[in-house]
């Protein structure tokens, strides 16, 4: 146990002398623990909130975990009554159901013996609460709203765009890394220059092009403008440059066609870089917002991101549904984070690109 504590609290200068805590050690741990709470806290709060009933969501102060006030149907009363723990004048507590409240006095009955009305001061009672997960926050948007459709649209856009990105970018990277031809550096320059053309600068003319091509209100209009990513070409080309040209020459001697060289030799060897690009692409396309918002105006075509933002902007926001769907939208990204975070962080540190 002592060893564990020493390992976790290892600090500067701890190898040699047993010096006390330097202020930087204290600061480090305050920053790390604070970071842990601030970075994960909001997402955890979102997940807890998404499991609450609308009534529990409207409560202030809110409870951390999803509780609901228990109710009971009592003989002789039409509606279910709220259950309370009431403190009796003699100090004992009883579980009572509230019939009505007049001023500071609540008229209550025992659910098991509903004949007699007990009067209790409202300060002497507290609601009986049980933990309960409002799972219909998750099921109802799928059944009664179009969220299943939005989920499908998001998956379609993400998968198709990523596949096209991988094929098209790897072909371009292959040409730019393994062939000598006129205009190669011009092509490279053009691709790198487009790194500085963000969507916000070209969205008006891009929209007119999409409309001219008949891709307005089509998922292909969302997919196509995103697939020729300069980042992707860049990452793959850097990687393919490390593949020795002798390998290609040997294959050519064996009468392999250029396409076979690309498909059978270069692509398999580029697998690690392709994996990084695939992860990036999935996260990018899943998270895209502004462009789908512009291209898609029919409800049945919305992606999850667009659907969520439109629903949450409506006048009477049904937060219990919005929160649950936000969690659903978050799930793929959290999975990527848990299992593939290492690839992304090394990818970013290596290229400086997001």
């Amino acid at each position: 146990m002592g060893n564990v504590a020493r390992f976790i609290l290892r600090r500067r200068g701890a190898h040699g002398s047993g010096k006390g805590w330097h202020w930087t050690d204290v600061f480090t741990w305050v920053w790390l623990i604070g970071g842990l709470i601030i970075m994960f806290g909001p997402a955890v709060w979102l997940v807890f909130s998404s499991l609450k009933t609308p009534a529990a969501l409207a409560e202030f102060p809110p409870s951390i975990l999803p509780y609901v006030t228990s109710q009971a149907t009592v003989e002789g009363y039409d509606k279910p009554l709220m259950l309370y723990n009431a403190t009796m004048p003699d100090g004992s507590t009883r579980v009572l159901a509230e019939v009505r409240r007049i001023g500071l006095v609540a008229q209550m009955v025992d659910p098991n013996a509903p004949g007699e009305i007990v009067k209790v001061n409202i300060n002497d009672r507290s609601p009986v609460r049980t933990m309960s997960f409002a799972t219909n926050n998750y099921t109802e948007p799928f059944v009664h709203f179009d969220f299943l459709r939005y989920l499908w649209n998001s998956v379609f856009v993400t998968v198709v765009a990523t596949l096209i990105t991988l094929v098209v970018n790897s072909m371009a990277a292959f040409a730019l890394s393994k062939y000598e031809f006129k205009g190669r550096s011009l092509a490279m320059l053009v691709i790198l220059a487009t790194l500085m053309v963000p969507l916000s600068v070209i969205m008006v003319p891009l929209y007119s092009i999409i409309s001219t091509l008949g891709l307005f209100n089509s998922l292909w209009g969302v997919i196509l403008p995103t697939v020729a990513t300069p980042t992707g070409v860049f990452i793959l080309r850097q990687y393919m440059l490390t593949i020795p040209d002798e390998l290609l020459d040997a294959a050519r001697m064996d009468k392999a066609s250029e396409w076979q060289i690309y498909w059978r030799i270069v692509l398999p060897l580029t697998a690690p870089a392709l994996a990084v690009l695939a992860i990036f692409s999935v996260v990018w396309r899943w998270n895209d917002f502004l462009w789908p918002l512009i291209v898609l105006s029919r409800r049945e075509l919305y992606t999850l991101q667009v659907g969520l933002s439109i629903y949450s902007g409506e006048l009477n926001v049904q937060w219990h549904f919005i929160l649950a769907m936000t969690v659903v939208t978050m799930i793929p990204v959290v999975l990527v984070f848990i299992f593939l975070q290492r690839f992304i962080t090394t990818g970013i540190a290596g290229t400086g690109l997001k």
């Binding site: 709060w45 008006v204 003319p205 196509l224 502004l290």
Partner: protein
């Protein structure tokens, strides 16, 4: 008998397609030679680039010189520089309300203050985080992941998470309530909302910049620190004399990168505040979006003109970044 694995099953149709297209491609190679194949490999990417990036870039200039509400260029009238002069028509440049396009100047002002505050706070917090992650820590990759987590979240999710927290019955008010303070409607207050936009974008992106700075820190040769330790140099002096100067090129790139991203701020803020209350968090990209598409009196030409002005700022920033990168590269080679 061996059972085929899932991945090999998935590859069956792919391989079938490949077998079919192999023969025609071989014929193509015979006809065009190896150089022609290079063009063939490059073509799809360049085609998509040309149609969806380069072409819009060019017609954006044409757009910005036309008027009307139609989207097809053929239906728009040429009006020369009128959209630009409309953007710049002001009685007093320090007061957005005196301009004809007051929303544009409000957005410019908001974006300016957002960029200044967000980038400086971003660099400060990212640098501190990176320095801490660079120390000898137990479970360092875990801590690195902690700060990286929000980076992957979608802007819509980020916006909704914080909208929920800043609600009247939200987590922030709950925290204040625990300390005996009154709840407050944060997102109806102009100044607090503006502060919230900065805080939320810090939360969402800080880990990304911390990661790049961390990579820069780890590239600093360890023997410099060992030498300093042997000389008994004070930690503060080590930081100012070794860490900071050697980190400077990396830090400059991060600053410019943060500036470029910050100027384009939109998604999470749009979901969080919608530009409100009033126009207190209306930023440039939202102005362009609403002028071009959303508002009832849409004016694509005006939006194009505004986007070209913003593009100009971005090009300058990118050229600075490339300049720094080139200098750093040549330094590294020597």
């Amino acid at each position: 008998m061996t059972t085929p694995s899932l991945s090999s099953l998935l590859m069956v149709p792919v391989n079938a397609v490949m077998r079919i297209i192999e023969a025609p491609l071989r014929r193509l190679q015979k006809a065009t030679g190896i150089g022609g194949m290079a063009a063939f490999f490059l073509a799809p990417n360049m085609l998509i680039f040309g149609i969806f990036v380069l072409l819009p870039l060019v017609i954006n200039f044409v757009y910005s010189m036309t008027g009307g509400t139609a989207f097809f260029l053929s239906e728009r009238d040429f009006i020369g520089g009128a959209q630009y002069s409309r953007l710049f028509e002001c009685q007093n440049y320090l007061d957005p309300m005196s301009c004809q396009e007051d929303a544009f100047w409000t957005a410019v002002g908001n974006t300016f203050w957002f960029v200044v505050l967000q980038v400086s706070l971003m660099i400060l917090t990212a640098l501190i985080t990176a320095l801490i992650l660079n120390r000898e820590l137990a479970a360092r990759s875990f801590w690195r992941a902690v700060f990286f987590f929000p980076v992957l979240l979608s802007p819509v999710v980020v916006g909704l998470i914080w909208k929920w927290i800043l609600q009247r019955q939200g987590l922030l008010n709950f925290g204040l309530y625990q300390f005996g303070m009154d709840p407050y409607t944060w997102l109806t207050d102009r100044n607090w909302t503006f502060a919230a936009t900065i805080g939320v974008s810090l939360w969402a992106h800080m880990g990304f910049y911390a990661l790049i700075i961390l990579a820069g820190l780890q590239a600093i040769p360890k023997d410099l620190y060992e030498a300093a330790e042997m000389d008994g140099t004070k930690p503060a002096r080590v930081f100012w004399r070794i860490t900071l100067p050697l980190l400077a090129p990396n830090l400059l790139v991060v600053v410019v990168l943060a500036l470029i991203k910050s100027v384009q701020v939109f998604d999470e803020i749009y979901v969080l505040t919608g530009g409100g209350p009033g126009t207190s968090t209306l930023f440039l990209t939202q102005y362009i979006y609403e002028t071009g598409f959303a508002s009832a009196l849409r004016n694509p030409g005006l939006a194009a003109a505004a986007s070209i002005l913003m593009g100009g700022v971005l090009v300058v920033l990118t050229l600075i970044q490339l300049g720094i990168g080139r200098r750093g590269e040549s330094k590294g080679k020597r």
